[in-house]
């Protein structure tokens, strides 16, 4: 019956509907292109001859393909150390945020906790207000967390948004599960580790993805807290290269591009370094993102219902 209706309605589909369809396809193709082409452009430039890429002639396909930029990336000043810091803060920060969110999300469903609501609200309130970055910086300095690797990780451990996500998920699990375990004599920690964790793994994956992307992308905390170059993450090193390049290009007039053109095809140039670092920083996100998209979507949906 309903199929028949659909068929009938298809036949009724007028010229107007067809037009809507065509316009949609055109507009969304443009949107997709606008989001993809910039990354493609940067990528083909990193594998093209460096004298061509620094003149900006590579637009649609690579020319003089070589992978030297990636093999010599290690020689870029400070890049290896920065990669180490980025990986370390992402790994440690993610583990810390995920564990704390899972634990707190579970604990705050325990009605028996002394003044549970007060503590929960105390944490959630921090989503809606903050003292401001400068007061934050000043107290971080008081606590000796400036120029300190732990300044990246410690403030990220308790993250209200992620606690809301996990708590909502835990609440959707039947109470009987915990009760049954408690009748068998399990304490609260046993319930958490043996009963809860296996059940809340999906939401822990979601939180892990969010936390990892946040840590990988973090820039502002370095800007505020860190002056020691050994503690710079990739994002910050990339920013420094961009900043230098931008002040150079503001000073340079067109004639100086001829001196850049003198560089050989595989010698590193300002452009090649900048773009290679960009690809290295973007790549992990590009690799991870399509596979975990459904987790992101799930995360924002639960967050939207509650937040």
């Amino acid at each position: 019956m309903s199929k028949e209706i659909v068929k009938k309605s298809r036949m009724h589909q007028g010229v107007g509907d067809r037009m809507v369809s065509i316009i949609c396809y055109v507009i969304f193709s443009i949107c997709a292109l606008l989001c993809l082409y910039p990354f493609y452009y940067i990528f083909i430039n990193t594998i093209s001859a460096n004298d061509l890429s620094s003149r900006g002639v590579i637009l649609f396909w690579p020319q003089g393909i070589h992978l030297k930029n990636y093999s010599s990336a290690l020689a870029i000043d400070g890049l290896f150390q920065a990669a180490k810091i980025s990986v370390m803060r992402t790994a440690l920060g993610t583990v810390a945020t995920v564990s704390a969110s899972a634990f707190l999300g579970f604990m705050f469903t325990q009605n028996k906790m002394w003044h549970r609501k007060v503590w929960y609200r105390l944490i959630i309130a921090t989503m809606y207000f903050n003292a401001g970055i400068i007061p934050w910086f000043l107290v971080m300095k008081n606590m000796h967390l400036t120029n300190n690797f732990w300044g990246y990780v410690l403030p990220a451990i308790v993250s209200p948004f992620h606690i809301v996500l996990t708590k909502t998920f835990v609440e959707s699990i039947p109470k009987e599960l915990q009760e049954a375990a408690e009748i068998d004599g399990a304490g609260i920690m046993t319930v958490f580790f043996k009963v809860m964790i296996p059940v809340i793994k999906p939401i822990m994956a979601t939180v892990a993805i969010f936390a990892a992307v946040n840590q990988w992308n973090a820039f502002q905390d370095t800007l505020l807290l860190v002056t020691d170059t050994k503690l710079y993450p990739l994002q910050f090193v990339l920013y420094q290269y961009l900043n230098q390049a931008s002040s150079l290009s503001a000073l340079a007039n067109t004639s100086s591009s001829s001196s850049l053109a003198a560089a050989a095809a595989t010698t590193q140039t300002a452009t090649s370094i900048r773009m290679t670092i960009t690809v290295i920083v973007v790549l992990p996100i590009m690799m991870v993102y399509p596979f975990f998209q459904k987790y992101f979507v799930k995360g924002i949906m639960i967050g939207a219902v509650k937040g």
Partner: protein, 306 residues
């Protein structure tokens, strides 16, 4: 009886003790900074320690409205903040429209592809967005090469070092980064609309535009409204990262929003106390805005979003 009571009480305290370390962390990193507001009432000049600073009362607050140089600066900063937040607020229906029309695409692989690709920019940092912008729009970037090849310009244009249309270009970058992701919430909301509504409309001969107008959009309005109210609460908080990475000597006058100005005051010119005073005012006004928006939501829709 007493023993049982105590045991119950002890258990509830034990549960609290488990979360206590985390509460301490929150107090340290989110509530302790409120103590930093004290700096606004003192003449704090690093590297001299805070204990040596002189108490000056509301001197810095007064200077914000009395010192003509600061007033002029602050006026420009507020203008930037209001215009850029205003444009964002005024175009906050864009993600909804994006979702509505994306939903009209019948070819599922294409729809999924567009959705994945357009949400990607949301997951890269502002530094990377700036890197993308720089690669495309610097003097040897793709845009200049293209325009030169087409003969539209004779000399490279320094797009990023321009003081023209800063508000508009910043909005465009923000939209490039956020549009696809912001649409996801609406896409999910659309999929929860009862399909019978559409079938009934089709039987009655409704065109697709009519279905959108009378079914899809009305059922998305509650979501839209909640997000709009949250945007109002964030009116003063554009964040500083985007504007920090895009700022340079040429566009500085138009790109400094409140968050960035607060940062530049302290870290750039060392006026910590003034910066904290301003930051304190901003936090208070933001909370008031949020509460206000929540009240509007309660009055008009009978539900709060906090």
């Amino acid at each position: 009886m007493l023993g049982k009571m105590n045991k119950k009480k002890w258990y509830s305290i034990k549960l609290f003790l488990y979360v206590l370390p985390f509460i301490v962390l929150v107090l340290l990193f989110s509530y302790y900074p409120l103590y930093g507001w004290l700096y606004a009432f003192y003449d704090y000049r690093p590297p001299r320690p805070f204990s040596d600073a002189e108490f000056v009362g509301i001197k810095w607050f007064k200077s914000l409205v009395e010192n003509p140089v600061k007033v002029a600066q602050l006026w420009q900063v507020l203008k930037n903040t209001f215009v850029m937040s205003g444009i964002t607020l005024g175009t906050s229906w864009l993600p909804m429209i994006f979702a509505v029309f994306l939903n009209e695409i019948r070819c599922v692989p294409f729809r999924k592809f567009v959705q994945t690709v357009t949400t990607l920019p949301n997951f890269i940092s502002w530094v990377l967005v700036y890197s993308v912008a720089f690669s495309l729009f610097n003097s040897t970037g793709m845009m200049n090469t293209l325009l030169l090849n087409l003969g539209l310009i004779k000399e490279p244009v320094l797009f990023l070092q321009s003081s023209d249309h800063v508000w508009l270009t910043q909005w465009l970058w923000l939209t490039w980064k956020n549009l696809g992701w912001a649409a996801i919430m609406y896409i999910a909301a659309i999929s929860s609309i009862d399909d019978e509504l559409f079938q009934a409309a089709r039987v009655d001969g409704a065109t697709r535009m009519q279905q959108i107008r009378y079914i899809t959009i009305p059922s998305l309005l509650p979501t839209f409204f909640v997000l709009l109210m949250m945007n109002i609460g964030n009116f003063l908080s554009n964040g500083m990262e985007q504007y920090y990475v895009f700022q340079n000597a040429f566009n500085k006058d138009y790109i400094q929003v409140l968050d960035l100005y607060v940062y530049n005051l302290a870290m750039g010119s060392g006026s910590y106390s003034v910066s904290v005073a301003l930051s304190m005012l901003k936090s208070i006004v933001s909370v008031l805005l949020l509460v206000g928006a929540n009240t509007i939501s309660k009055l008009t829709r009978g539900e709060s979003f906090l």
